[in-house]
């Protein structure tokens, strides 16, 4: 393998990895405020991209994407208000089944609103043929968009959670729901907000990857599995570790793709998921003593 080829593979790995990281962060935001793993997380990406593709015909691209993100946020918030809020204190089994039901309904709704055709947003800059040279490897400008947007999302979330009142309130809920309530934080709205937030960043990630990976109504479930793998790999609830874990899984996937038939690509992440669940369900970066305190 030449140096250029290795760099090419690494770039591809980092690109898919950063998408997985965004899905994983979406999982984490909701998990932190509610203790629920939202099985419909992958669908948010697809819904966002689908709406943007439709709006794109009527208005300029940036406006279409912004509107798509807002609409998806509204959908996320509504889903929480309608389905999750009334059963917040129910058992885990019930909550799992409800989010699975939501993901099916979203998928089927997309199938009937749009159709099973593969769609894509146009490239943000240039077209599918334009490339930029990088250390002998060539990459599409869209890859830079993906990396840039993912970076901005991660940085933005960090600032939001660290420095804004709402962000801090959400973190307080994640730490101890009861204590947060006693401090006068409206915990219910924090949950709704967490659904809106993860729907929003999902939609944004869906839009920015759409030109590269295309968008089809049933692509949400595989994304969700991979995002979950990454979330577990980094330790559920830990968004910064999710970025590292995402890049790791992305690189691993591209590495297998370069050596084995493409059909095994899916199997890699599932195998990693099963392995990490068995060997170290607290994630790669968790400290041993903290891990002992949590139930799996």
């Amino acid at each position: 393998m030449t140096m250029a080829l290795i760099i090419q593979y690494c770039l591809a790995g980092i690109t898919v990895g950063s998408i997985y990281a965004i899905v994983a962060i979406g999982f984490n935001i909701i998990y932190n405020t509610t203790g629920i793993v939202n099985f419909a997380q992958g669908e948010f990406l697809i819904v966002g991209a689908m709406i943007a593709v439709s709006l794109c015909a009527m208005m300029p691209l940036p406006l279409a994407i912004a509107l798509a993100v807002l609409i998806t946020m509204a959908i996320g918030g509504l889903l929480e208000l309608i389905f999750i809020r009334r059963v917040r204190d129910a058992g885990v089994l019930r909550l799992i089944i409800i989010t699975i039901g939501i993901s099916i309904l979203m998928r089927e709704a997309m199938l009937h609103i749009w159709d099973e055709k593969v769609r894509a947003l146009p490239y943000f800059t240039g077209n599918d043929a334009s490339t930029i040279g990088f250390l002998g490897a060539s990459l599409s400008p869209q890859v830079l968009w993906v990396l840039g947007v993912c970076g901005v999302i991660v940085a933005g979330l960090t600032l939001f959670f660290r420095y804004t009142l709402v962000g801090r309130a959400m973190r307080a809920c994640a730490d101890d729901r009861m204590a947060a309530r006693l401090c006068g934080i409206n915990e219910r709205w924090m949950v709704t907000l967490s659904f809106m937030l993860s729907a929003g960043i999902g939609a944004l990630a869906g839009c920015v990857t759409s030109p590269l990976t295309q968008t089809q109504y049933d692509m949400g479930a595989p994304l969700a599995i991979k995002g979950f793998t990454v979330a577990i790999l980094g330790g559920l609830g830990n968004s910064m570790a999710a970025v590292a874990a995402g890049l790791l899984l992305g690189l691993l996937e591209v590495l297998t793709m370069s050596q084995f038939p493409a059909a095994y690509k899916e199997a890699v992440s599932i195998l990693v998921l099963l392995l990490i669940l068995v060997v170290r369900p607290t994630g790669l970066f968790a400290r041993g003593d903290a891990a002992g305190l949590r139930a799996f």
Binding site: L93, E108, F228
Partner: protein, 359 residues
Amino acid sequence: MSPGRYIPLVLAAVAIVAVHLGLSAADLTSRMTQITMAAYYGLVVIGLCLLMGYAGQVSLGHAGFFAIGGYVSAALTTCNLLKSRQAWPVNWCDAIGLLVEHRDLYGQVMLSFKPWPAFLASLVLAGLIAWIIGQPVIRLKGHYMAMATLGFGLIIYRIVLGAEVFGRADGISNVPPFELVSIGGWRLAVSDDISLRVQNYYIAWGTVLVAMMLAINLVHSRVGRALESIHQSEEAAHSLGINTFQYKLYTFILSALFAAAGGALLTHYNANINPSEVSVMKSVRYVSIVAVGGMANLWGALIMGVVLNFLSLRGKFGSYDDAVFGAILIGIMLFAPNGLLRMPDLKTLFGPIWRRSHG
């Protein structure tokens, strides 16, 4: 040992005969095909009900076990070992009577496994796989177990789609009939032969009743009580000296066996199997049926399984097939977590109004 618990079995047997008589009186015997298929799906549902309702473990990978049963039976009974007849494993199988020569559609001579050994092999394999993946998976809880079993189902789906022996996207067709018994001229066979439709209806329902009896006995035994205590509080059960891991693992294996048996029999009945049986949606469908039936309610799950699968097989839901199951899943979990056959919780149903009027 109370005979009371077997009364529903007798009633079910009466109902099965009544449905047959009713359908033949109304000249609708063609409907029996779908009822027979629904019965085999019912086997999966009974197993999953034991796992979910009694052991409290959710599995999103049961279509995978169904597929192991169906695909292994189909592959073994349709393979052609004629070329490697001299090789010792084949020779050995031939010598003890596991193989049979038959002709395929084009009149070509084939040497394949007989349905009985193939069926048993598929069950053994399903049980073994359940045991292996159960070791780690059963130790997980809630979300983690759901995702892990979902991952298992997806791997099986990929294998089925990618492997030449399983026919890739086309699946396996022309699966021979499964001759259960043959005494003199009288034979009992699971096959897609229309003239054997009535016979197959009773074979399928007989199997379901046997499975049901096994499940009922299990639930009312020491094991069943142990499972129930695990479901209520695992820590408490553990402190009473119940080996919670072992019980959950055995239930997992048992439910995998039920699913595999359903898969194998349905494959012989349809004479084919294809990857759509392995999709994640199928696993979700089984889970939703158990939920509609009321989780820890074997009869509820069975009835709902047969009704919903029958309607789905008749194409009553059209292109909204999956959406119907998704909507059912959410609706039941929101409004009637104890199943449709029990009274819905009115307080949840009218929650907002009720709260306001008392606030």
